[in-house]
């Protein structure tokens, strides 16, 4: 068994067994508390530049399949689990986790006290770390970790966005459509306005967009044109969008000044909806600031209240930065709030038709509770 080690910039070292690819990588070390959905997480572009530890201890159990994919590549730098399954057990499985990482060149670390790592990150905050199967000397590895670049201020979007525009063609499959929820007594509630009729045209700015977002948009009655995240406002408007979507993406939003500028120019030109990084960009475009959370929100169990209805949805989240409430301009209204730490989870513009959420209504992986937001966006477009 090949050994692998992780060093954090604070000098902590964890030594375990290697799985997947071999080599040396650096990145921001963070953790995700989802108990399912590792394949979607591995392919989520927002993890670019990060070494991710899963808190759930048995990972790889149901293997890898062809459908649970959120982009065309594995995006994170390194993957850490307590125990990686050597077999895949599920009717949908087409391969094992180990082979998946190996093929994608992602370094995996297994057999370490992941809970100790998570506690370290919780107490000390997110840290830069180095994961290696080559450098196992502790002090050398720690030195590498200390000299590795920090995530703050880096433009990671460039690394994950597409180079060209494309028309999206895929909708949600049966397995991913949230089951209709009945009201009391087993009767279906009135269905939302059916998305039949002329499809609305949405231009999605792709900063590292998860595919399930585009699938949701399509399934809620939209025609989706995907543009690279650095597309100009003029590029966007050229497509005559009925709605503009700002996607999720990796890294520090304040490093993306030209994107912010683009959003500012687009605001009010068409109904706008942003998710995660897109939410932060909208806030920045309106004059708010973002800040780095101590260790971020990554998981599938974050409770968020819809302040208008008072109802709580359990959400999938993946963000290390958040919008600073103290800097919120008067035209932005908080619509959703995190029940754990009260951070802003959703915003609405007072005058322009624009809204955004910090979390992931498209789930994949995670609960479907917030899927209604896609219908809301569809309704915003009239």
């Amino acid at each position: 068994m090949v050994r692998a080690a992780l060093a954090l910039e604070d000098g902590t070292v964890f030594v375990g067994d290697s799985f997947g690819a071999r080599g040396t990588v650096s990145g921001e070390v963070c953790f995700n508390t989802s108990m399912t959905g590792y394949q979607e997480i591995l392919t989520d572009p927002s993890y670019r530049g990060q070494i991710l530890a899963m808190t759930a201890p048995e990972i790889g159990t149901y293997g890898i399949n062809e459908t649970d994919v959120e982009s065309d590549a594995l995006q994170l730098s390194g993957f850490i689990v307590r125990h990686a399954s050597r077999i895949a057990s599920n009717f949908a499985a087409t391969g094992t986790l180990n082979d998946y990482l190996l093929k994608a060149g992602i370094i995996g670390l297994t057999g370490i006290d992941t809970r100790a790592l998570v506690r370290r990150l919780r107490m000390c905050g997110a840290m830069t770390g180095v994961l290696s199967t080559e450098v196992l000397d502790h002090s050398q590895l720690v030195a590498l970790a200390r000299s590795a670049p920090s995530l703050v201020g880096r433009d990671l979007v460039r690394e994950v966005m597409p180079q060209t525009a494309r028309e999206w063609t895929e909708s949600l499959d049966d397995w991913s459509v949230p089951l209709e929820q009945p009201s009391e007594g087993g009767v279906y509630a009135a269905k939302p306005a059916s998305p039949v009729g002329v499809a609305k045209h949405v231009v999605a700015l792709h900063y590292g967009m998860k595919w399930n977002i585009a699938r949701h948009l399509q399934s809620s009655g939209c025609r989706v044109t995907v543009l690279p995240g650095n597309a100009s406002a003029a590029d966007v408007l050229k497509h005559k969008p009925d709605g503009i979507f700002l996607s999720n993406g990796p890294g520090d939003p304040e490093a993306l000044s030209s994107c912010v500028e683009t959003v500012r120019l687009l605001l009010g030109k068409a109904p706008m909806f942003g998710i995660c990084l897109g939410h932060q960009l909208l806030a920045l475009a309106c004059g708010a600031k973002t800040f780095k959370l101590k260790f971020g929100h990554r998981g599938a169990n974050q409770p968020v209240m819809d302040l208008a209805s008072g109802k709580v949805e359990i959400t999938a989240q993946n963000h290390g930065f958040a919008v600073d409430e103290a800097t919120l301009p008067a035209e932005l209204i908080v619509t959703h709030r995190n029940l754990n730490d009260n951070t802003i989870e959703g915003l609405r513009h007072k005058t322009a038709l624009a809204a955004s959420v910090q979390y992931h209504p498209e789930a994949a992986s995670g609960p479907h509770d917030a899927a209604y937001l896609f219908d809301r966006f569809r309704q915003m477009m009239g």
Binding site: M35, T36, T55, A56, F91, Q181, G299
Partner: protein, 1091 residues
Amino acid sequence: MPRRDDIHTILLIGSGPIVIGQACEFDYSGTQACKALREDGYRVVLVNSNPATIMTDPNTADRTYIEPLTWQMLEKVIEIERPDAVLPTLGGQTALNLAMELEQQGVLAKHGVEMIGAKAEAIRRGEDRELFKQTMRKINLETCRGRIVKSLPDARDVLAEIGLPAVIRPSFTLGGSGSGVAYNREEFDQKVQRGLDLSPIGEVLVEESILGWKEYEMEVMRDADDNAVVICSIENFDPCGVHTGDSITVAPALTLTDRQYQRMRDASFAVIRAIGVETGGSNIQFAVEPQTGRMIVIEMNPRVSRSSALASKATGFPIAKIAAKLAVGWRLHELSNDITQKTKACFEPSIDYIVVKVPRFAFEKFPEADSRLTTQMKSVGETMAIGRTFKEALQKALRGLEVGSFGLGCDGKDLWGTAAEPSLDDIRVRVSTPDPDRVWYLRYAIKAGMPLDELHALTGIDPWFLDQIQQIVEMESLLRTVGSLAAIDDALLREAKQTGFCDRQLAVLLGSSEMEVRFERRRRGIVATFKSVDTCAAEFEATTPYYYSTWEEEDETRPKPPGKKRVMILGGGPNRIGQGIEFDYCCCHASYALREMGIESVMVNSNPETVSTDYDTSDMLFFEPLTCEDVLNIADRIDPDGVIVQLGGQTPLNLARALSAAGLPIIGTSVDTIEQAEDREKFRELLDRLELKQPASGIARTLEQARREVARIGYPSLVRPSFVLGGRAMEICYDNVQFERYVAEAFAVAQGQPVLIDRFLEDAIEVDVDCICDGKDVIIAGVMEHIEEAGVHSGDSACAIPPHSLPPEVVAEIKAATSCLALRLGVVGLMNVQFAVKREEGKQTLYVIEVNPRASRTVPFVSKATGLSVAKVAVKVMAGMSLAEQGIDADPVPSHVSVKESVFPFVKFAGVDIVLGPEMRSTGEVMGVSECFSIAFAKSQIAAGILLPETGRIFLSVASPQAKEIMVVLARRLIDMGFELIATAGTARSLADAGIAVEVVKKLQEGHPNLLDHLIDGRVQLIFNTPRGKGARTDEGRIRAASVLYGVPCITTLPAAEACVRAMEALRTESLGVQAIQDRLLVTQASAVPS
């Protein structure tokens, strides 16, 4: 919307006695609910017939009624207490059914009582199978194909549509009682008929078989604003076909992709919404076809359940407590998560460990019962283990089961490599049919070289689990190759521990001893670390000290606060017959007592059903198996100042010597004293010195010796193996033929230990005494006179406080003897003595049968009957506070009569003879309280589900001539009450001779119509049958077994028959009143003052 202000008093219904399918988990949920509601200022009225519960302690609810759980009794409580609402979803199926009866009888409407948590309509939709299916259809969720029928011909029609194998489930039965799979037409007919009979509404569901499908459970909560969360997903290791209560289960679900899991989550919410459970917890079961992922809903429980107790312990999320809060209007996000305190209860726990639950069975007690596992639950208890990997958790759970196994083989019970090693053919058979031992046979299969594909095909168990077992076997092989403790390197030793191997297994594999392994690994710094159960996978700081052991780098236990003492309480492990909730009750009280004394209480237990494993019962909770190694590992970390072993039943007592030898400070009665009471020679000497009598007795190590001893002692004699619990293989022999048969069995069970032979005292009255001794003073907490004669296991007989027939001077003699024994033995804490009182030569002679210097099963009953918190006082004594210092200087004097009655699981084991004997077989108990014995006894019978008839026909059958004499007297009294009597020829003649009218019926072999036919036709309302012979093969045995099937009470001892007649007479003139124990205890305290 905070709490509702329009309701003030809430009626909470408990679940009654412990039975298969309903155990301590409802004490846990009920106790949590009481606390939660009172915290919000509601007045809680509780009704439960089970005295061995924390919830029936006088300070748990505002008003507590230990009364039979019938709708009539509940109406009386409602009339007195005038509750605004009834919360029926926390007392298991019993409470749900009772609430529905109250509703149907119009009681709730009449008294303006609102059903909260779930409305009657929702309960009906969840419980009525046809309505449930319809509702599922409306929301486009699949259920099993098939339908409800009310007759056998209709059932056959369904069979034609769905084919064999088919599943049969009767409606509204507890724990799926009467459910089963039919593989052929004959079996189908039988099971349908039995199901129709068992179902209180005479209907059964006939369905397509989903045998071998993957089975899942979702624990869901919903609030009044329609916020819904999943608390825990559970995956069954055993696929569909085995009741989830009998399955090994795992949390979280491991073999579903997120997409598949989220679909199940969506479906769970759709179900709870469609059924209309407004607030609280529900449990929804799903089956998934492994090849396609096709998902169907099996059933839902619109209430908290055994699984929700498991989910609570598995995640740290207190489902019952939150369910109670939601029922009174709170919403999830308004409630805080106790464990983190900073976050809200509106979230879904994330767990960073694996939980494995393994059921515990009691088939050794019912050798005639079918031990194959089916869709009807048969297990009597369960253990849960937490580990960082599945392998670790599984092995931990297997050793926590306390069935002599220390993991997956490599222990004393391992057949591999022995002469009894199973062949591949045996293995094939054993793995194909689920039974309690199957998991160990999976290992044998792998060791025998069976490919996992074949093993999967035979068992339907998910390949992921099978691969895990293979990994354990691979580690075993690696360790065998290393071969010695000296040769093993640190890394492998650590990995072995992380794979769940305990020191005992390592000793076997490395040719060493458990203690040597322990010493060596500690020397190398390989020690257990403890991690928190925190609901959030360490994302937030946990404040609640709830821990499990693992073998990682970081330990999270907190250091001992300066100047504070810590005392460890060892619990009782999984419920089993003979050791259950009574001991958990004692352990909880130990914790309360220590807290009152300012001592940190540390609970160690592995039973997820219990109150003791609630995270706020003790200052620290370790969810761990009760083995020597596991306890020592905790002690290494927390450095206890004392360890209590006398409250958790036999489990901790068995560890006492080893723990003490390893240097742990056992407090209370010393280990030497405990052993002295068990050493027959030393004990006999002590009795001689105290001039106390004991029945003649002997010890035999060989069959020859046994024959010599029995010749000396004479018949009848009691034969039993030593060092065996609960009267296992204990039999009374009346002659040489019986002796030869039973002594052979006793030697077999004794496994090398001697066999004990005692003179059996026939027709003696048995008495149980519980006392507390501080070394100087003794308090007699309770003297219990048994109803059944000596020879019936004390755990199975009914008993009364105060004694109902013994003269005061005999009671005084009993008390004096008890005091002497306690003081001379040097007991510090609790002691239980069993006496027999036999009328010899015109006077009552006292014999000492047995002394146990530990908490007995009767401690909670005595506490409820007398108002003295027996366990608490005893623990304070153990912790160094004398009785005098506690201000206790007189024995409690109860102001009323309390009768304890036992409850049996016979209905789950079709065909088993129910006759009582020295082997304990009851699972639970109830209590009846009144001013007089006859009414208290009547209440105990009603509470135990024994329906004493008011009119009709009674079958009498007695064996001995003396018994016939007594029966004649009873028969007259029955005739006077207007009953008709029937009997078979022998008994009928005696009755006729005495001038009593009796109808003669045929014996079974005399053709038709015989007694069985009368039984089936409902012509018999009660059976008095004292046995001649035992066993399901005898005529009598068949009749008794049939009485269970047809729900006709069958009384098998004369004293019990006599008590029944008294009760029936009393019921004709007096009505049953109810009284809160808070009021009864006031009377007791008042009456105790003058003395």
